[in-house]
C-alpha cells in the first residue's frame, strides 16, 4: 500500500503521470472489491410506507353493513375466506401471499410520534436515545458493507413530520438510507420525465465540464490527501470519510448507477406499475432487490383523509393496487418473491366512525398492517376487530409484535442487541414483544 502510494507520488512528481495507470489504480481496486462482494442472493425487505395514516378499515378489514363501514364492497381473494376491498382487485389475485394483521393496536395517533413508533418500535424521547429506523436495522443485519449499492434505499419519502424516523439513529450514517425521489414526493402531477429524474441518485454523474482524465487524477490526488491526513489522526472519522468516497466512486463507476435508469425497462411493464412516483418507485425497488439490496422502502402519501375519505382512498387504492400487484408478479417471475418480504403499513389507521365531512380521523386503537411474500405464510388474516371496527377482539398486535414478526420472516434475531448512543445495549426489537409465529413460514 505504502509502496504503491510512493510510486504514484513519484510518478506525479516526475511528471510522468499516466491517466490510464491512475484509472486502473483506483478503478482496479474498486472492481476487485465489487467482485469479492458478489455472494448468493440474500433475503430482502420492501417496505411500502403509507404516509399520513391509511384507512385500513376501507382496505383490509371492511365492515360492510355496519354504519362505520362506508360504501365499499368486499371481494374475495385467491385465498379461501380472505376478503379485501373491491378497490384492490389485482392484489386480491395474490391473496395466498398476504398475511393481514387485523389486530394492530398501537399507542400513537399523532403523525410524528406514530411515524417514529411504527418505524423504530419506540416512542420518540425528547432527544434521548436515537432509535434506528427498521431499514437501518435490516441494513446492519443483512447488508454487505462492501456492496456496490447502499444497503438501505428510501424512495420518495415524505419525512415532513419525523425525519429521525427515517434515519439510522445510533447505528450511524453507514446505515443511513440513500434517498431518491424526495424532491418530487409531494408533487402529485409530476410528469414522466420528472419522475425518471427524481428517481436517480443526486449528484451521481460527474460534471460534464470535467473530463475523465482530470477526474481520475483528482481522485488519486484526493486519496493521497486523505492518507496524509489520516496517518497522523487515526480513528473512525477519517476512515469513514475515505470509505464514503470509495463507495460513492464505486457507485458512480459501476453498473450501480444504471439501476436507477428506468428507461431500460419495457414501456408495457412500466405502464403496468403505474406511471406515477409510487409505481415507478416500486419498479425501482424490484431492480434494487435484484441487486441484493436488503432494504428498500417506497412511500405513498396523502392518506390523511380527514375529509372525503372514500374518494381519496379509492384513488390511492388504485395506485397501490397496480404498483404492488406488479411488484409481486415481477418478483415472482424472477424467482425473488420467496426471498423478499413485503411489509405494508402506515403510522396508524383511521376512525371507524365516519365524520361529518365524510372523512375519517386518526385511530391507532384498532387497525391493520400487511405482511407478504418471502418468509410469510400468506392467505390468512390474523386478529379480529369488533363489528364496529373500534376495538381489537382477537390477537391484539403491538408495533413490537409486528416488527419482531417481520424480523423472523427475514431471518433476523430480533433479540440481538446493538450498542446505543447512551451506552446501554438496545435490542433490535425491544421487549415486550410476542411475534406472530403463525404467519412466519
Amino acid at each position: 500500500m505504502f509502496d504503491s502510494l510512493m510510486s504514484r507520488r513519484h510518478l506525479l512528481r516526475a511528471g510522468a503521470v499516466s491517466t490510464t495507470m491512475s484509472m486502473s489504480g483506483i478503478l482496479g481496486k474498486l472492481a476487485m472489491a465489487a467482485e469479492a462482494s458478489k455472494k448468493k442472493p440474500k433475503r430482502s425487505c420492501i417496505l411500502l410506507w403509507m404516509n399520513g395514516g391509511p384507512s385500513t378499515i376501507d382496505m383490509w378489514d371492511l365492515k360492510p353493513g355496519h354504519e362505520n363501514g362506508g360504501p365499499y364492497k368486499e371481494v374475495n381473494t385467491t385465498a379461501p375466506g380472505l376478503k379485501i376491498s373491491e378497490h384492490l382487485p389485482k392484489i386480491a389475485m395474490h391473496g395466498e401471499q398476504l398475511a393481514i394483521l387485523r389486530g394492530m393496536t398501537t399507542k400513537e395517533g399523532d403523525h410524528a410520534r406514530g411515524t417514529y413508533l411504527m418505524r423504530t418500535g419506540q416512542l420518540p424521547g425528547a432527544a434521548g436515545i436515537q432509535y434506528p429506523s427498521i431499514g437501518a436495522l435490516v441494513s446492519k443485519e443483512l447488508g454487505d458493507p462492501k456492496a456496490e449499492l447502499p444497503n438501505f434505499l428510501s424512495i420518495a419519502p415524505q419525512r415532513f413530520f419525523a425525519q429521525e424516523a427515517f434515519g439510522p439513529g445510533f447505528l450511524g450514517p453507514v446505515h443511513a438510507p440513500l434517498i431518491v425521489g424526495e424532491n418530487q414526493a409531494f408533487n402529485n402531477n409530476a410528469q414522466a420525465n420528472m419522475i425518471d429524474d427524481a428517481l436517480k441518485v443526486a449528484d451521481l454523474a460527474k460534471p460534464k465540464s470535467i473530463d475523465d482524465a482530470s477526474a481520475a487524477v483528482r481522485l488519486d490526488l484526493l486519496r493521497e490527501m486523505q492518507e496524509d491526513f489520516a496517518s497522523g489522526r487515526p480513528g473512525q472519522m477519517a476512515k469513514s470519510h475515505a470509505a464514503a468516497y470509495d463507495r460513492a466512486i464505486r457507485l458512480m463507476q459501476s453498473d450501480g448507477s444504471k439501476i436507477f435508469d428506468l428507461s431500460t425497462e419495457k414501456d408495457s411493464l412500466r405502464d403496468k406499475y403505474g406511471r406515477n412516483l409510487f409505481g415507478q418507485g416500486c419498479l425501482l425497488a424490484r431492480r434494487l432487490v435484484e441487486k441484493n439490496v436488503p432494504f428498500v422502502e417506497v412511500s405513498l402519501g396523502n392518506w390523511d383523509t380527514h375529509g372525503q375519505n372514500f374518494d381519496q382512498v379509492k384513488n390511492l387504492s388504485t395506485t397501490l393496487d397496480a404498483a404492488w400487484s406488479s411488484l409481486m408478479d415481477d418478483l415472482k417471475d424472477r424467482g425473488l418473491l420467496e426471498t423478499t418480504t413485503i411489509v405494508w403499513m402506515g403510522e396508524f389507521g383511521r376512525t371507524p366512525k365516519i365524520n361529518q365531512g365524510k372523512g375519517r380521523d386518526h385511530y391507532p386503537n384498532a387497525w391493520s398492517t400487511v405482511l407478504a411474500g418471502g418468509g410469510i405464510k400468506g392467505g390468512q388474516a390474523i386478529g379480529k376487530t369488533s363489528a364496529d371496527g373500534t376495538t381489537v377482539e382477537e390477537r391484539p398486535t403491538t408495533t413490537l409484535d409486528m416488527l419482531a414478526t417481520l424480523c423472523m420472516a427475514l431471518g433476523i434475531d430480533y433479540e440481538k442487541t446493538n450498542p446505543s448512543n447512551v451506552g446501554r445495549p438496545i435490542r433490535i426489537v425491544d421487549k415486550p414483544c410476542n411475534p406472530i409465529t403463525e404467519v412466519v413460514a
Binding site: 503521470v17 491517466t19 429521525e164 454523474a205 487524477v217 489522526r233 466512486i249 446501554r424
Partner: protein, 543 residues
C-alpha cells in the same frame, strides 16, 4: 497598621498607574486566566501520573482555523489567517478570541449549536420549525449580550403561561404577560409537547446533566434514579397536565400549590409530589409556582449540578468529548475522566457569575485546547485524556459557512435565512447543504455518507466554486498577475486549510500544475487542486 496600609493603597489608586494597582495584596485575577490555570494544573498532573506525553502545541495556522470554527462557526478567510500569523503580539491568541467574541457570527454560531442541543426536534419536525427559529433568535441575543447562563435558564423555566389541554393529542401553551420574549420561550414547552414527563426529562438532561428518562418506565438500570424520582421531577411541570376535578370541600384546606405540584405516574394510580432528585423539597408557598421553585433550586450557586453541567457541555463543545461523557449520563458506570477538574471548573464558573465568555476565554487559553490534533505518541490515543485535540465533524452550517469563506461564494442575504434543515429550497446551495449534512451524531463520531461524498465531488455548488469562470477565490488566484505557480498553490492552501503547503506538497502540486495537469491546461490544473483540497478531510473536519 492595617488601616494605614489601606489608606496607602487607596491613595495609590489615585497616584500610581493602574498596572501597579493590579499587583495589590488581593490581586484581581482574570476569571478566564483562573479557569485556564485550573485546566492546566489538573491535566498536566494527570498526564504526569499516567506517563502521557501530550501532543505538540498548535502552530498559529492550526490554532487560527480551530478557534474560528469553534467560536464563530466557519474557517478564517485567507486575509484573516495571514493577519493572525503575521501578528507579532505575544498575547495574540487571547486577543483573537476577544475579537471573535464580538463578531455577530459568534452569537449566531452558539445560538445554532445551543438550539440543536436543546431543541433538536425543531430542526426535524416541520410543525415545530417556527418555534425553533424564534428560540434560536432569542438565544442569539443572549449570546450577543453574554447573558449569564443561570439567567438564561431561569428565564426559560419561569416564563408565565397557561396550558390548553382540550385537545389531548395537541396541547397548546399560551404565553402570559406583556414581555414579547414570552411568546418565544413557550416554544421550549411546545417543542416538548407540553407534557410534564418530556419537560422533566429535557430539563434534567439539559440543565442538570442527568438523563432520567430511562427511569420513566422502569428503575434506571445502572444509575441510582428510580421511576418514582423521575415522576417527582416531572411533577414540577404538573401544570402541563389537566388538573383533576375539584376535590370535595370536606377533604380540608388545599395545600399551598393545590394540585399543581402533583402528578400521576402513567399507567398507575400513584400520585407523587414534586421533589428534587437530591431528595430535598421546596418550602411550598402559595405565591411561588413549582417551576419557580425548580429554577431557584437549579441555579442556586450552591447547587453544583447546574454549573458543572454547563461547564461540561461547554468543554465538550471545544474538545469534542465532555469531562463527563456522554454529557448527560453520569452514573457509577460512567465516571468523569477528571472529577476534580470538573468540580473546580464548576466552582470557577459560579465565581465568574456564570459568565459564558469567561469560560470560553479560559478554555481557549488552556494548554490542552492549544494542542495539535496530530498524534505523536501512543499515550495520546485515549481522547478522554485530552493529550491531543480530537477531530470534530462540522455542523451543516459550519460546513457551508466554511465553504463560503474558502471559495468566496457570494451568497444573497435571503438565502442565508434558510436555517431549517428539512425544507429544501430549490437553487439554494445553503439549503441543499443543510439537508444533505443534517446529522444528530456526536461531533467526534461524525461519519460521511455516500450522498454527502457525491455532493462534494459532483454537486452544482462545488462545480461552480471550482470553475475558473465562476469561482470567486479560484478565479482571483488563477488570474493574479506576476505570481508563479508556487504562489498560486500556496494561496489555494491558505484559503482552504489556513496553512501553507508543506515543501513536499508544494513541489508535488506545482509540478502537477506546471505540466498542465491531465489536459495540458494550467488553469484547469489549478482548479483540480482546489477541488482536491475542498474534498479533503483536512478541510471537512475541525482538527
Amino acid at each position: 497598621m492595617l488601616a494605614s496600609l489601606r489608606l496607602a493603597a487607596a491613595l495609590a489608586v489615585v497616584t500610581i498607574p493602574a498596572t501597579v494597582f493590579a499587583a495589590d495584596a488581593t490581586p484581581k485575577v482574570d476569571p478566564a486566566d483562573a479557569i485556564a490555570a485550573i485546566i492546566d494544573k489538573h491535566l498536566s498532573a494527570d498526564w504526569a501520573a499516567r506517563g502521557v506525553k501530550p501532543a505538540a502545541q498548535t502552530d498559529d495556522a492550526e490554532f487560527v482555523r480551530r478557534v474560528y470554527l469553534d467560536l464563530i462557526g466557519r474557517v478564517p478567510k485567507a486575509p484573516e489567517t495571514r493577519d493572525f500569523i503575521d501578528d507579532t503580539n505575544p498575547r495574540k491568541r487571547a486577543a483573537l478570541v476577544e475579537k471573535l467574541l464580538t463578531l455577530p457570527g459568534h452569537a449566531g454560531h452558539f445560538a445554532a449549536v445551543t438550539r440543536a442541543a436543546w431543541l433538536p426536534q425543531t430542526t426535524t419536525n416541520f410543525q415545530l420549525a417556527n418555534a425553533g427559529f424564534q428560540f434560536e433568535n432569542w438565544l442569539r441575543m443572549r449570546y450577543r449580550d453574554n447573558t449569564p447562563a443561570d439567567e438564561v435558564v431561569r428565564r426559560i423555566l419561569t416564563v408565565p403561561f397557561t396550558v390548553n389541554a382540550q385537545n389531548a393529542m395537541n396541547r397548546f401553551v399560551q404565553p402570559m404577560g406583556n414581555d414579547p420574549d414570552n411568546n418565544t420561550l413557550v416554544g421550549f414547552y411546545q417543542a416538548n409537547e407540553a407534557r410534564a414527563e418530556n419537560l422533566g426529562s429535557s430539563v434534567s438532561r439539559l440543565f442538570v446533566g442527568v438523563r432520567l428518562e430511562c427511569a420513566q418506565c422502569h428503575d434506571h438500570p445502572f444509575a441510582r434514579y428510580t421511576r418514582e424520582q423521575f415522576w417527582e421531577f416531572a411533577a414540577f411541570f404538573a401544570e402541563m397536565s389537566p388538573l383533576p376535578a375539584n376535590r370535595p370541600s370536606f377533604v380540608g384546606p388545599l395545600e399551598p400549590q393545590a394540585d399543581k405540584n402533583r402528578i400521576t405516574i402513567t399507567n398507575t394510580e400513584k400520585r407523587v409530589v414534586a421533589r428534587f432528585f437530591d431528595g430535598s423539597s421546596p418550602e411550598w408557598s402559595a405565591d411561588r409556582s413549582p417551576r419557580q421553585e425548580l429554577a431557584a433550586w437549579l441555579t442556586n450557586p450552591a447547587n453544583p449540578y447546574f454549573a458543572q453541567n454547563a461547564v461540561n457541555r461547554m468543554w465538550a463543545h471545544f474538545f469534542g468529548f465532555g469531562i463527563q461523557d456522554p454529557v448527560d449520563e453520569p452514573g457509577d458506570n460512567n465516571p468523569p475522566s477528571h472529577p476534580q477538574l470538573l468540580e473546580d471548573l464548576g466552582k470557577a464558573f459560579v465565581d465568574a457569575k456564570f459568565d459564558n465568555r469567561a469560560l470560553m476565554r479560559g478554555i481557549t487559553r488552556s494548554q490542552a485546547y492549544q494542542l495539535s490534533s496530530k498524534m505523536t505518541h501512543p499515550s495520546q490515543s485515549d481522547p478522554k485524556r485530552f493529550a491531543k485535540m480530537s477531530l470534530k465533524g462540522l455542523t451543516p452550517a459550519q460546513l457551508f459557512d466554511s465553504m463560503v469563506a474558502a471559495t468566496g461564494h457570494r451568497e444573497p442575504g435571503f438565502m442565508r435565512q434558510n436555517q431549517f434543515n428539512f425544507n429544501q429550497q430549490p437553487n439554494n446551495p445553503r439549503s441543499a447543504f443543510l439537508n444533505r449534512f443534517a446529522s444528530n451524531e456526536k461531533a467526534t463520531e461524525a461519519n460521511t455518507t455516500i450522498l454527502q461524498a457525491l455532493m462534494l465531488m459532483n454537486g452544482q455548488f462545488i462545480t461552480d466554486v471550482t470553475s475558473i469562470e465562476k469561482g470567486e477565490v479560484l478565479g482571483a488566484i488563477v488570474d493574479v498577475p506576476g505570481w508563479d505557480t508556487k504562489q498560486r498553490i500556496t494561496a489555494l492552501f491558505v484559503t482552504t486549510f489556513a496553512r501553507n503547503p508543506s515543501p513536499e506538497e508544494l513541489e508535488k502540486f506545482t509540478s502537477y500544475v506546471d505540466r498542465g495537469g491531465a489536459t495540458n491546461d494550467k488553469k484547469k490544473a489549478l482548479a483540480d487542486v482546489f477541488w482536491v483540497l475542498l474534498n479533503s478531510p483536512e478541510f471537512l473536519f475541525n482538527h
